[in-house]
């Protein structure tokens, strides 16, 4: 059935539109009045930093704020993060943070080239130090063993001569005495002289080796370890200004 609207109903329709707008505005105001605060909190997002090394890294946020936080509340949008830790290289990255979301940034800071070179240098230094101590020590121990052996040989030769002399004294056999004097004693005297020379030489070598070992130990103990100059830290420090304890420049973040 096709019914035409009356004039009265037309008038009602014309006045209904402003009322609808009014109702919408009212509803918006109500909603914004009741739930206004949560709507503002959702403009930030959370960024959790998972960094290797995890204990002493530092971060510069947006080229301005230097901090050591592990959890950052950031406004939505791109944020520049410059991460650094001692002995590591600076990692410069940009992260988009979505409002109301939480995300992790996993970063492994690579070792700096200077630190790797320093490690090599320290390794070489330790090897050199070890050699500087070990070689003379081995030489001294060897010389000591040689000297001990030479001494024992010398003592044995000396005792042999003493026995020969005792035998000369106690013997009543002219043949044995002749053999003793013509053969055995000269041979044992040769042995004794040889062992005496050997003992002198080995003792001298031992003394020299021992003196050199002492000197090399002392020299090694006085030689300072190679120092590590962390140039990445200098670079990182230069990325942002920090106030010192007195409020002026030159502050250190540590």
């Amino acid at each position: 059935m096709n019914r035409k609207p009356s004039i009265g109903s037309l008038v009602d329709r014309r006045s209904a539109r402003p009322r609808k707008v009014f109702r919408l505005v009212l509803a918006f105001l109500l909603v914004s009045g009741i739930f206004g605060s949560p709507a503002i909190a959702q403009t930030t997002g959370q960024l959790r930093l998972v960094v290797d090394p995890g204990h002493d890294f530092q971060v510069i946020l947006d080229g301005a704020h230097r901090m050591q936080e592990r959890v950052l509340d950031l406004s939505e949008g791109n944020h520049r993060l410059q991460l650094w830790a001692p002995t590591r290289r600076i990692v410069d990255t940009t992260v988009y943070v979505r409002a109301g979301s939480s995300r992790e940034l996993v970063v492994r800071l690579p070792y700096s080239a200077e630190f790797l070179a320093h490690q090599q240098e320290v390794k070489r230094f330790r090897e050199r130090l070890w050699l500087n101590k070990a070689l003379p020590t081995v030489a001294t121990v060897g010389a000591a063993a040689w000297t001990t052996a030479a001494y024992l040989d010398y003592r044995k030769a000396g005792r042999q001569l003493r026995d020969d002399k005792d035998l000369y004294t106690t013997s009543a056999d002219p043949g044995e005495i002749a053999e003793l004097k013509n053969d055995r004693i000269p041979a044992h005297q040769d042995d004794f002289r040889r062992s005496k020379v050997m003992l002198g030489v080995s003792t001298g070598v031992f003394a020299v080796a021992a003196a050199y070992t002492i000197w090399s130990y002392r020299r090694a103990d006085r030689t300072p370890l190679p120092l590590f100059d962390d140039s990445e830290k200098v670079r990182f420090d230069g990325l942002v200004w920090l106030p010192g304890p007195d409020g002026r420049g030159g502050g250190r973040p540590d």
Partner: protein
């Protein structure tokens, strides 16, 4: 000999100060050990002088006082049968010259007759020995060359002379 009373290097104590690291403590004693070893080297002396070893009477190169001395020469009758006379040369061995007690024989070389005879200690331990000879000429001088002997080897020869009664 010089090595009596010397200590071997192993006997030398090598203690150290308690505040030193063990390696340095040992090192601190190395010069001392070296010095001790050098000192020990001086303990032994090459003091056997072969030329000086001439004091044993059994040595052919003996250069001490005379070992033999003529005691007496006499004639004795040996009752047989047959009965006969023989000359006895009795000589003494100076056993005090021996460096140690020893038993021995004496080789007697009769320089007149050219004979060599071994004479033993009779009784054992006696140092008075006798040489017998059957033929003699009264008033004639007799010289004997005597040598201590053991195991078929001989000491320095000495000559004793006397006159037959």
């Amino acid at each position: 000999m010089g090595w009596y009373g010397c200590r071997a290097p192993m006997d030398v104590g090598v203690g150290g100060r308690t505040d030193d690291p063990p390696a340095m403590s040992t090192l601190r004693h190395l010069p001392i050990m070296a010095a001790l070893l050098l000192g020990l080297a001086g303990c032994y002396k090459d003091d056997i002088d072969l030329a000086a070893l001439t004091n044993n009477p059994f040595d052919a190169d003996y250069s001490g006082p005379a070992v033999f001395s003529l005691d007496t020469i006499y004639v004795e009758q040996v009752l047989g049968p047959p009965n006969f006379y023989r000359q006895v040369v009795q000589f003494k061995v100076n056993a005090s010259l021996f460096l140690a007690s020893a038993s021995y024989q004496v080789e007697v070389h009769d320089l007149v007759e050219g004979t060599r005879t071994l004479v033993g200690q009779v009784p054992a331990g006696s140092h008075t020995l006798r040489f017998y000879r059957l033929e003699y000429l009264p008033g004639q001088e007799v010289c004997l060359e005597l040598r201590l002997t053991n195991n078929n080897a001989f000491g320095r020869p000495e000559t004793i002379c006397g006159t037959w009664p």
